[in-house]
C-alpha cells in the first residue's frame, strides 16, 4: 500500500536514536510542585484549595471555568504552599498553585469501571471532562470539547495521531511500544461515542515495529485500521494528517469536525483510557529528555507539575554546556531561559543542544529561491508573506493566505539565507487574530 502523505514538508535529522530504545522510567518528584492554572486553551481554571490546605494525589485543586476550560489535579500529596504567579515555558508569568509534597503519595480513591461498555456516551464525556484531559500533543485544547460535536453522527473518522513527526521526540513511540493496548482501548472508547466513525491509527513508517504491534492488536477490530504514513515533518500536523489519511482538506477557517474527523494524539488517548476505565485524572505524562548535551537521554513518566530542572539529574546530568534548551520539539517547541519551569499537561520533551543553530546562523537577504514555497505544507509562499509582515501590510498578508500558516517552521528550517520567516509570519498572524477578536 502506498504510504500516505501530503505535499511539501521537510526531512530534518530526527535524532530519535538517542532515546528511542530507552524504556519509560518513573521518577519520584522532589521539591515543590507548580500547577499553572492555565495549561490549556480556554479560560484559566479557578483554584478550589487555599494556602495551608492539605491535598492528596489525584485531588482536584482547580476547577474548569466554563465549558472551554479544564480541571487541574495535584499529582502529589502535600500542603498548598502558595497561589502566586510563576514563570512557565512560554516565558509568561501565570497564576499557579504551589504544593509542597510530603513524599507519601497518598491518593484519593478512583472510581474504577469494570466494563466500559456499560457507560453511556454522556457518562464517558463527563469522566473525560472531570479528569481534566486536554490535547497533550502541544495544543492543549480541552478534549471533552473536541469530543462533543453538535452532530456526533457526522463523524466518519477518529484518528489517533501516532505520527510523532517532530525530531528527537520518542515519548509517543515508547507508549506504543510499552502500552499499545491502552492506546487501542482508548481509541475504542472514543469510537463508542461516534456510531458512524472508523478508527485510524496513523503511524509514520520509521516506527515499523509499532505498526506491526498495532496491526496485531486490532486484527479483530473491524472498526479500527492501522495506516502507514510517510516519515516527513509535519506529518502529525492536524490538517496534514487528516489529508494524508482521508484525502479531505480543511483550511484555517474550518475544524476537523467539518471534515468529519476527530484527531487525538497518543498520550491523550491513553489519558482518556485511564480516565474512563480507571477514573484517574490527568496527573502524569511521558516526557523525552534528550539532546546532544544529555548524558543519558531517557523517556520519563513525569508527575505533571514537577520542575524541568529535576529531570536533568534523572537523565544523568549534562555532559556539555547547552546553548539552547527547548521544551517540546525542535520545530515547534519553546526555547527556555532556564529550566526552573514546571512540566505541564502539554510538555512532551526537554531538549538540550550544545549548538544553537539559530543564533549561529547569520541572516542574509532573500535570494528568492522558492524553497520555502516548496516545503510549505500550507501551500502558500512564506517569503512573500514574511515580506508583507515586515512591511506591516495586514491586508496583503491575509489576501495571500497568511492565516493558512500552521507555524510548523518548515520555511525557516529550509531557508538558505537563514531568514526567520516563521517568526515574521507568526507575529503578523497574532496581530490579525487580535484585530479580529477586537471586532
Amino acid at each position: 500500500m502506498a504510504k500516505l502523505s501530503f505535499n511539501g514538508g521537510i526531512h530534518p535529522y530526527d535524532g530519535k536514536d538517542l532515546s528511542k530504545n530507552r524504556p519509560i522510567v518513573d521518577i519520584v518528584p522532589k521539591g515543590d510542585m507548580v500547577y499553572p492554572l492555565s495549561q490549556h486553551i480556554g479560560a484559566p481554571a479557578i483554584p478550589v484549595v487555599a494556602k495551608g490546605d492539605r491535598v492528596l494525589r489525584g485531588q482536584l485543586i482547580a476547577e474548569a471555568n466554563g465549558f472551554v476550560s479544564s480541571n487541574i489535579f495535584s499529582s502529589v500529596s502535600g500542603t498548598v504552599k502558595a497561589i502566586e504567579p510563576r514563570r512557565v515555558v512560554t516565558g509568561d508569568l501565570v497564576e499557579s498553585i504551589i504544593i509542597t509534597g510530603d513524599n507519601r503519595f497518598e491518593e484519593v480513591e478512583y472510581s474504577y469501571v469494570d466494563d466500559v461498555s456499560t457507560l453511556t456516551k454522556e457518562e464517558i464525556i463527563e469522566r473525560i471532562k472531570l479528569a481534566g484531559i486536554v490535547g497533550m500533543g502541544g495544543a492543549g485544547f480541552p478534549t471533552h470539547v473536541k469530543l462533543s460535536p453538535k452532530d456526533p453522527d457526522k463523524i466518519d473518522y477518529c484518528i489517533a495521531n501516532c505520527a510523532e513527526c517532530e525530531p528527537y521526540l520518542t515519548s509517543d513511540y515508547r507508549r506504543m511500544v510499552e502500552e499499545p493496548e491502552k492506546l487501542v482501548e482508548g481509541l475504542k472508547i472514543i469510537l463508542s461515542l461516534f456510531d458512524n466513525a472508523k478508527g485510524i491509527l496513523a503511524v509514520e513508517d520509521n516506527k515499523e515495529d509499532c505498526i506491526e504491534t498495532l496491526r496485531q492488536l486490532v486484527k479483530d477490530e473491524p472498526r479500527i485500521l492501522v495506516k502507514t504514513l510517510q516519515t516527513k515533518y509535519p506529518q502529525g500536523s492536524e490538517r496534514q494528517l487528516i489529508f494524508a489519511t482521508t484525502k479531505r482538506a480543511i483550511n484555517s477557517d474550518k475544524l476537523p469536525l467539518d471534515a468529519g474527523c476527530i484527531v487525538n494524539n497518543v498520550d491523550t488517548i491513553v489519558a482518556i483510557y485511564s480516565a474512563v476505565k480507571e477514573g484517574k485524572p490527568l496527573m502524569e505524562r511521558i516526557v523525552t529528555v534528550t539532546g546532544d548535551c544529555v548524558r543519558r537521554p531517557q523517556n520519563f513518566r513525569v508527575h505533571i507539575g514537577m520542575s524541568y530542572a529535576d529531570l536533568i539529574d534523572e537523565a544523568g546530568g549534562l555532559k556539555k554546556r547547552p546553548e539552547k534548551i527547548v521544551s517540546g520539539g525542535p520545530m515547534m517547541g519553546f526555547a527556555l531561559m532556564d529550566t526552573m519551569v514546571p512540566t505541564t499537561k502539554t510538555a512532551s520533551a526537554l531538549l538540550f543542544f550544545s549548538r544553537d543553530e539559530v543564533s549561529r546562523s547569520k541572516t542574509g537577504a532573500c535570494i528568492n529561491c522558492g524553497l520555502c514555497a516548496e516545503v510549505c505544507p500550507g501551500r502558500v509562499v512564506p517569503t512573500m508573506l514574511a515580506k508583507l509582515s515586515e512591511r506591516g501590510d495586514k491586508e496583503g498578508f491575509v489576501k495571500l493566505g497568511g492565516m493558512e500558516c500552521c507555524e510548523c517552521g518548515c520555511c525557516s528550517y529550509i531557508c538558505p539565507a537563514k531568514r526567520n520567516l516563521t517568526q515574521s509570519i507568526k507575529s503578523m498572524r497574532k496581530e490579525v487574530l487580535s484585530d479580529r477578536k477586537k471586532k
Binding site: F243, P330, A335, L336, C369, L371, R379, Q423
Partner: protein, 310 residues
C-alpha cells in the same frame, strides 16, 4: 545553571543549505562549459572570464565599502554573475568590455536595486545587453583563430548548412560558454540532481520554443532544423543557467511554467522574425520585467482552499 540560555522563536534547527553553498554549486555546474570554452577558444577565453569575475566582485566590494554596507562578496553571487557574463562574451572582445559589463551588471542592475535577490533583471544578461547595444561590432564579432565566419545560428537563419554534431559538442563559433550543449547539460543535470534548480522553467522554455519554431520557422518539425535551434546560440546556457536565476524568475510554481513559456515564445519571435539570429538574452530580460505580474496572477491556492493537491 545560573546563566540564561538563548531564547528564540521556533523552529530551533536549521538545514545545511545556505546561499553561498547554492552559489558554489552553480559555479561548479558552469565549470564544464567554462573548461570547454577555454579548450575551444584558447587561453584568452580564460582571461576574459577572469576579468569579468574580478570586475563584478570588485564592483560589489567597492560599492559596499563606499556606502559602508555589510560586505557580501563571500556569498559568491558576484562570482556567478561575473562567470555568466564572461561566458556570454566572444573570445576576442577587448579586455575593457568585461570590465564595463561587470560594472554595469553589479553596480546598476544589482547594487542600486538593493543587492542580492533584489535585482529586477538578471545582472549578467543586463551587462551583456548593455555591451551589445554599446559595442555592437565587438560583441558580434565571433571571428577567432579557430573559427571564422558566422555562428551556426546565423547560418541556420540564412539557410546555410552546418554540422549538427559539432554544434552539440560545441566545436563552433559563438560566445565562450554557449557553444557546447553537452557541457552545459552536464552542469544542468548536476544542479537538477542537487535540487538547486528544477525543470519547470527550462522545460517550459525549451518546449515552447520548439513548438514556436516548428510552427513558424518554415521548416516544420524537422529534426535537423530544430536541433540547430536547440544547440545553437545561447539557448542552453540561457534556459538552464540564466532563466533559472532565482531573483528574476517567479517564485510561484505555476508562475515558473508561465514564465518559461513566455521566454520560449519571445525567443522564437526574436530568432525567426528579428534581424539578429540570437534572441535568448533579450527574451530573458523582457521576461524578467514581467515577473512581478506573473507572480501576482499565479499566486497559489493555499492548503484547504484547493491547493492541497499540488
Amino acid at each position: 545553571m545560573s546563566d540564561l540560555m538563548n531564547v528564540s522563536s521556533n523552529p530551533h534547527i536549521r538545514s545545511k543549505v545556505s546561499t553561498d553553498k547554492i552559489m558554489l554549486c552553480v559555479i561548479l555546474a558552469l565549470m564544464p562549459a567554462t573548461g570547454f570554452g577555454i579548450y575551444n577558444f584558447g587561453i584568452r577565453a580564460l582571461y576574459v572570464v577572469l576579468i569579468s569575475i574580478a570586475s563584478c566582485v570588485l564592483t560589489e566590494l567597492i560599492f559596499e565599502l563606499i556606502t559602508k554596507k555589510e560586505i557580501t562578496i563571500t556569498d559568491l553571487s558576484a562570482v556567478v554573475t561575473g562567470l555568466l557574463l564572461g561566458l556570454n562574451l566572444p573570445v576576442n572582445v577587448p579586455f575593457y568590455l568585461p570590465v564595463l559589463g561587470g560594472i554595469f551588471a553589479i553596480f546598476v542592475v544589482k547594487m542600486l536595486f538593493g543587492g542580492i535577490g533584489q535585482n529586477f533583471m538578471n545582472p549578467a544578461l543586463a551587462g551583456r545587453c548593455f555591451l551589445v547595444i554599446s559595442f555592437p561590432a565587438a560583441m558580434t564579432n565571433f571571428t577567432c583563430d579557430a573559427y571564422t565566419g558566422a555562428t551556426p545560428l546565423t547560418m541556420l537563419k540564412n539557410g546555410e548548412q552546418f554540422n549538427a554534431l559539432d554544434m552539440v559538442i560545441g566545436r563552433t563559433g559563438g560566445t565562450i560558454g554557449e557553444t557546447s550543449m553537452i557541457a552545459l547539460l552536464i552542469g544542468a543535470c548536476f544542479l537538477l540532481l542537487l535540487g538547486v534548480i528544477n525543470l519547470r522553467v527550462p522545460a517550459a522554455y525549451i518546449i515552447s520554443l520548439i513548438v514556436f519554431v516548428g510552427l513558424f520557422g518554415k521548416h516544420g518539425f524537422d529534426t535537423y532544423y530544430l536541433c540547430g535551434h536547440l544547440a545553437g546560440g545561447g539557448l542552453m546556457i540561457g534556459a538552464w543557467f540564466m532563466a533559472t536565476d532565482y531573483a528574476t524568475r517567479p517564485v510561484t510554481k505555476a508562475g515558473q511554467i508561465v514564465y518559461g513559456i513566455i521566454l520560449g515564445l519571445l525567443t522564437g519571435v526574436f530568432r525567426i522574425f528579428g534581424s539578429s539570429a540570437e534572441g535568448v538574452s533579450f527574451a530573458i530580460i523582457l521576461g524578467n520585467l514581467l515577473v512581478p505580474l506573473i507572480e501576482k496572477v499565479t499566486y497559489p491556492k493555499p492548503f484547504g482552499k484547493g491547493g492541497e493537491h499540488r
